[in-house]
Subunit: 336 residues, 2 copies
DNA sequence: GTGAAAGCGCTAACAT
DNA sequence: ATGTTAGCGCTTTCAC
């Protein structure tokens, strides 16, 4: 490690004061064009790189964003991250990574550390559950720029970007109904998730519109995992209510469900039609290929990040909610 | 945003010099115990948070690590990230995220930006391909602490943590051989990857040990995707060489292969036995459940991060290579 | 359009 | 065990 080239070295070599160099690297307008060019050339020659730490210290901006994640096994959120990261790069920001994978209770400590790093804003790429909004509220009230995906707090001015889960639930159920089914079971996610409530509501709307009575015993809950989808179907099969179709609120549970149905000797889609949710990559390659609801996840990350940066650069921006649209992908587990 | 509480405020409130406060927050030994306690209490009361930027500027250490990733759809690497992130947290470091997902040629620019941020070290959680080692070499020669997973550069003192791919390839082929197969096809990954060469080599070793002649036309290459596994099988089926078993070098291609075999009317494992590689979550839930090679991916991330931090804190550490062991998971696509 | 001066909040010798 | 003195490399007034 040789000694660092600083703004002063550049200034000396270009025969200007170092403040002028500062203006050049910050693209300020008030520099004569030939001075600017000369400084730029010297920067090149010397291989000068501005120090992010020094800039942050002086400017009180870090151009760093915090990313809160909970589950790297969930395709939805990893794709959100991909979109978010690309957008941050475009805008010249970086994400600092914080996965609370193992232990959600780490989150407050984690947010403290992000505060210490003086991140300019925080993106929550994780779902809301019931008991955890307290420290998030405190962030909001401290005025920390914040955008969430799939994370809601009732009655708060929170900027959230999400996919329309009511609509998705409705599309899923409608596909099943159009295929002629009237006894439709559902494997929902954990009841505390807002997306679960929304998808369930959308499903029930579709049922109601088709004058299909709602049968509570045909709803089971899973935890989004393959195994929980399998378990849920086994419970459904043991129950007394018959069903010819199944809406699983994510693809992993749908695939777990297919697994259990096959074991039980039920053919998919002949005996039981299925619609999943997410359109994970394997959905097209499992057997049978899964009819499912596609969500524009990378887009969610991209839009969320863009909004976050907008808030950072203009704190008075009005908080709003952006809902993107999901769409049905017809494959073979539910055909019209 | 109210004014920041600084180390001087704490010092004043605790009636010590601010350097003493610095010692306390850095857990230096040379502070009297009651002074330390008093300072700690004041820190609590005032809600003081040290400024990471100021610390970095003064200490020339950022406690920030760069993470280079290429593919968030690849289970191997996302799990490496999970393990890496957890370990970084434990050691009080953060990762800055850099996915070169879309465009690998972004990487040099990305590394430049990481240099600007003065990251203390860089973790490459991406595979090596053939043409990209130039800028990585320049990092090594500049003495930037660096650890890679699955990334090799011939003849360089590079710290790499990986899973033993030769052994994995051998285990996969052996499982097939033990099940009685002698005509074994292989769907390899892209030929330029070292892991592909190693898995192939391991496979051929096992073949040689069993006195099975090697049939070059039974090797096809894919790009790790489901679709490429499907295509590879279609080519294999069109070829003249017969086979009763298939080793796919990752699970996604294995699942794509099963898909194609089913379409072609071949039963798995009755007509064609299959062993995959990775043990992705869906492997246990696809049909039939996939026999595959499990890799301790989170562990790779954890070990790599720990080594990286060791290098940072002790630059003279000897570079070494850590190879973790994969293991065969027997499911239903290849049974003895 | 450009320069001078004053910090940003902290760590790191060195002194005491 | 604690305080003193210098910066770290930059941005930001404010002059000129």
């Amino acid at each position: 490690m040789k000694k660092r080239v600083t703004i002063r070295d550049v200034a000396a070599a270009a025969s200007v004061s170092y403040q002028t160099v500062s203006r050049v690297i910050n693209d300020r307008p008030d520099v004569a064009i030939d001075t600017r060019l000369r400084v730029r050339r010297v920067i090149q020659e010397l291989g000068y790189q501005p120090s992010a730490a020094a800039r942050s210290l002086a400017s009180r901006r870090t151009r760093t964003l915090g990313l809160i994640t909970a589950d790297f096994s969930d395709y939805f959120f990893t794709q959100v991250i991909v979109g978010a990261e690309a957008e941050a790069r475009r805008m010249d920001y970086f994400f600092i990574l914080g996965s609370t994978e193992r232990n959600p209770s780490d989150e407050p400590e984690y947010l403290r550390l992000l505060a210490e790093r003086e991140v300019d804003g925080i993106l929550f790429a994780r779902p809301s559950t019931e008991h955890d909004s307290e420290h998030v509220l405190s962030l909001i009230h401290r005025g920390v720029p914040l955008v969430t995906t799939n994370y809601y707090i009732p009655n708060e001015q929170l900027m959230v970007v999400d996919v329309d889960n009511v609509d998705g639930g409705r599309q899923a159920a409608s596909a099943l109904i159009e295929a002629g089914h009237r006894e439709i079971a559902m494997i929902a996610g954990p009841p505390s998730w807002k997306s679960v409530k929304d998808r369930t509501q959308g499903c029930q709307q579709a049922l109601a519109e088709a004058n299909i009575p709602f049968e509570p015993s045909l709803i089971e809950h899973g935890d989004w995992s393959y195994a929980s989808g399998q378990d849920a179907v086994e419970r459904l099969l043991r129950g007394s209510a018959r069903f010819t179709a199944l809406f699983a609120q994510n693809d992993r549970m749908a695939i777990g469900a297919i697994h259990a149905l096959r074991k039980a000797g039920r053919a998919v889609p002949e005996d039981i039609a299925i619609v999943g949710y997410d359109d994970i990559p394997v959905a097209a390659y499992c057997h049978p290929p899964l009819t499912t609801i596609h969500q524009p996840m990378a887009k969610v990350g991209q839009v969320a990040t863009r909004l976050l940066i907008q808030i950072i650069e203009n704190p008075d921006l009005e908080r709003k909610e952006v809902l993107l649209k999901p769409r049905l992908v017809r494959r073979e587990t539910c055909v019209c």
